[in-house]
Symmetry: D2
Subunit: 352 residues, 4 copies
């Protein structure tokens, strides 16, 4: 384990890339030595994200020209688009097998090749790596992550839904056939691509659902919930876009089984997360707000009783760019490189 | 029926009051002759809402000094707080029994005195009027509204939930025991009272649920859904606050019965609202956005299939201050005074 | 003069185009018979702007296939990009010389061919029409507009700056060499093109200036202020982008001459606009807010004294899509077609 | 100098108080041992600001019950309202004369008792302390701050205006009689008091100026600019409220003297701030955006040439709660307690 690790960020001109840079700049044990951004190659990071103007950072380069073997990076954060990712990671690990990778795309999240092909419409380009990859939800797979070389960082929506649900599913506390997840996300979750429906004037002062009935994050939920349950679990999941930059709030509707009450669910979650640094369970009946985790790696979870006996309403809030993406990626890195898990992730939420 | 009706707005310094004024100013058959606002009595409407600066409007007066009999109003919009409303309307109708009233508070919405007492913690102060009042959801109770003197204008959340659900409930198309309504509202729904948790800095850039498990609008939903079903119906309902001024989006999770499919539900709704001027059902699979009804009296409804067979996801969007409050109130007035139902409500939504 | 005019909107998929449609749909004397949108040709307006879903509107067509002579339109609103506009209008008026045109682009605003060439880097493609065009700021050029066939609708920033300044300049009330205009605009002023710097996440929760020292609207200000002064006037003008959809606020810093006080300026403006339906001067010392004119064709103007003797601070607020674009265009149409000037423009501002 | 300093925050239920807590929680050399909030006394900080839920913090207490001598605090941050502050600080320093104070109110910013009395309408309640207090703009008064016991933390607007202007005034680079400062602030600058005009629905989607001609921050600008100039300087200053939480952008209009060009001004500022950790001058012609300093202690400054020869437009951006308040307060604390100046202030801006 090196005293100072050399890391790179691929796709540094996107939001998850820049968020990695924000966190890594203040991480005491890493040095950023590579930043790639194909369309902005040759520019400085400050040209793409002026908030970095005061800081010295490597110039942006195109990914094709990187000599992975020569660079000898300890770890790479990969924030590239779907499909491209598979090729780049395969090439990278082929040439520099000792470099570790935290991938922020969806490319290595599904373990089952058939499931992948069904949701993405083609065979995986790196099936060996797909098999090798470890699903990087730290609170669930911590020990496997420590020993892995390639971690698939979970999606933002799915992290927000899994943290409250996995313990309840594992302990058979809820009816597995009647889970409804109504999720609301800030706009950064949609990335930085210039699309008409993401313009300020199209988004501000309004609210809507999208991807109703067929969002790809469902495959990831299916996999992890079924793993936790030991049987197939299929949930109802509806994502919405809220006129805000950061944050996901999941409102989750569940029914207790075996006379399990909402208070029991609260107790299970409180116990599960008592020692977790980045999951905080609020007192029974209190619901979380996205603004109170903004900019931090924290997830807040609340449980309340529905007026219908046996039913509970569970709220879960995180910052989609931090615990939902780059913060969790740094948390994974800390485990993979043997650093204390919370290093560089201690920021308190920025509210208001 | 007068050619030009003389109307008053009680509580003109609140948002539903000012929205009534906005609509009535351009209504060709009414004249605003009374505006009350106890704490702002003596001021001009432009001092309270500068958007009215260019218009001649009556000075704001205190409600206690109004001589109802002498004024001889044709109709009064009552935008007063809970409880106060009962006393004012009782007094008004006692002194001017020919004046009609559209009440925007919750005071006359519940028909059952016992239900009222249970949700509000005290006996109703005007039980005779409570019996007389007609629930003012035009699309459901149009004919009774035409003949009534006192109409209880529905709540914003409940209008948004009833319009898509009442036809489905009436036609027994959905499982009545498994209805989940996840509602998101803009901040004007919370009114104009100066409260810390409604400050811009507390609301902007964040999202949260509130009143989880015990919101008073539930009583109204219970009453109307049970009426439609001919049996008791209790739904799960969670309201949220979104960082926007206007708009409610309800995402509703239902399960079809008797092999009823989401397409069947869409067909029922399309047929039910074919001739309604203010309810528009989108093509199957398309979901509504609040921004597309902003400032208009329109409700947009969408139906999509969940990936779980038999389950549908229904979206419903309206402007909480228009169809959710003052627009619906004007629609009620038009019926009560014998004007064409759409008069003064033809504004196209303001987007972007 | 026809009882019902047949009108078209070119560029209906942009914000000024859709705003024309919003206003024209409720204008009692016009019928929309043509909507063009090259990239969306073949689609319905509701596919591009879902708020129009409940309304019957012509299908979007490509501009190249329009037979201007056969259509025999009374008037066309042209919301096309710079340069394209010149060619289209030339073609249109060549084939249908009796059709009138209100152009919302900047192409016909500058009367001087040399000035045009300097600011736009090329000769004008339709110099005869450039000469014929009348600058459409109604409050200044009303009589010429009535008789014109081609009106150049003013820019949003320039309308907001001219309305308070032109009367003061004409009456020599202020120092012409020391005018500073600090303007703040909502995002719809930047149009609907998908550009990274216009994404919600790039715009929300922040504020910045742009185009500092070289914004093209300056040429238009120079022309009109110099015309009003009878000598060259060059102002300092800085545009900013505010995280809101609609509205421009101009804060204008001026110094009185010949002992002219801020109160004198207020008096001049009040007198100038006493009978104007769409310009409202607030009481001395009160400053306007953009939210109070949102969605309306109104401009609010305020004048306050600076603490430095002789200097005044003038505020001016309008909705950039209404009085700053499509509302003013309809106002111009009303004059050109002989309708009452305020027809279709009576909407009260939508606040909150 | 203690290895770990014991500090308190008075007025912890306000935004500047909570922002101090956010920063101090992660400051490696201080321990928070006192939090006061009179109206919330007895509650936990997490009841008032849920973002602190995961952290152990002292319970909120009323200020009257604090035993200053017994506590022996090294330093207190005072975030109390105007006037109250004077009494509390006088009492505190009387009983615990070794405790140091950084006051975030305006109470000790004006050095001249007469000036204070004129702007605030009464004699100062602690004139000796007023004399003792040092004005805490670090970049200007660093050495005096190091030795002081009572520092008056500058206002947010004034910090944003002084940082670009003081070097230009000191070097006589600009005309002192023609400085116009047009400032735009986020809503947190107005504090957390529940006032109607600060509600989300009153602020969102709009823009306006306030306090035109008579804002109290002017007195502070007068004092510091006159000090820098060695003569009386009076500027034009207009504050505006933007619909965002954090950030101030000042757009400043100046005229060079002695043929000084905008490039010269840029050169002066670049040289002045070359070694300052929290002031960054952008390349000539680039203007700052508030979003790029959000959550950080950084100030970004830009200089551009106006098209009028000799005139420059200067932009300055900071986060009003950090460099404009609590970040600067911590910077002052670091100097007063002998810590490295940047300790605890290294956060990179949170964008988007």
């Amino acid at each position: 384990m090196p005293k100072t690790a050399k890391v790179g960020v691929l796709g540094a001109s996107g939001y998850t890339g820049s968020e990695c840079v924000r966190l890594l700049l203040r991480h005491p044990q890493v040095e950023i030595v590579l930043l790639t951004a194909d369309r902005r190659a040759g520019q400085q990071m400050r040209d793409v994200f002026p908030q970095f103007s005061p800081f010295a950072l490597p110039k942006l380069v195109a990914i094709d020209g990187v000599d992975w073997a020569a660079l000898g990076l300890d770890l790479v954060f990969c924030g590239l688009p779907h499909a491209t990712t598979q090729k780049v990671v395969k090439d990278l690990l082929g040439k520099a097998p000792l470099t570790k990778v935290v991938d922020l795309s969806a490319d290595f999240r599904l373990a089952d090749p058939a499931l992948y092909a069904r949701w993405y419409g083609h065979e995986h380009h790196a099936p060996d790596l797909q098999r090798e990859a470890v699903y990087g939800l730290v609170e669930v797979h911590r020990e496997r992550i420590r020993k892995s070389r390639l971690v698939a960082n979970p999606g933002c929506y799915t992290t927000c839904a899994q943290l409250p649900l996995v313990p309840l599913i594992k302990q058979r506390a809820i009816d597995l056939d009647e889970i409804v997840i109504d999720a609301k996300s800030g706009m950064t979750g949609a990335g930085r691509a210039a699309r008409e429906n993401m313009l300020f004037s199209e988004v501000s002062e309004g609210f809507h659902a999208y991807g109703v009935g067929h969002h790809r994050h469902m495959a990831e939920l299916d996999q992890e919930f079924s793993l936790a349950a030991g049987r197939d679990v299929t949930v109802t999941f509806t994502p919405h876009l809220a006129p805000m930059n950061r944050g996901i709030l999941s409102t989750i509707y569940v029914r207790g089984v075996y006379d399990g009450s909402p208070q029991d669910m609260h107790e299970i979650l409180s116990r599960s997360y008592r020692d977790e640094p980045f999951v905080h369970v609020l007192p029974f009946g209190k619901m979380p707000q996205t603004r109170h985790v903004r900019g931090s790696n924290m997830t807040f979870i609340g449980v309340a009783a529905d007026r219908i006996k046996g039913r509970a309403i569970i709220g879960s809030a995180l910052d989609n760019l931090v615990k939902g993406a780059s913060g969790q990626a740094v948390q994974n890195m800390n485990l993979m490189l043997g650093f204390p898990e919370t290093t560089g992730l201690e920021q308190v939420a920025l509210f208001p």
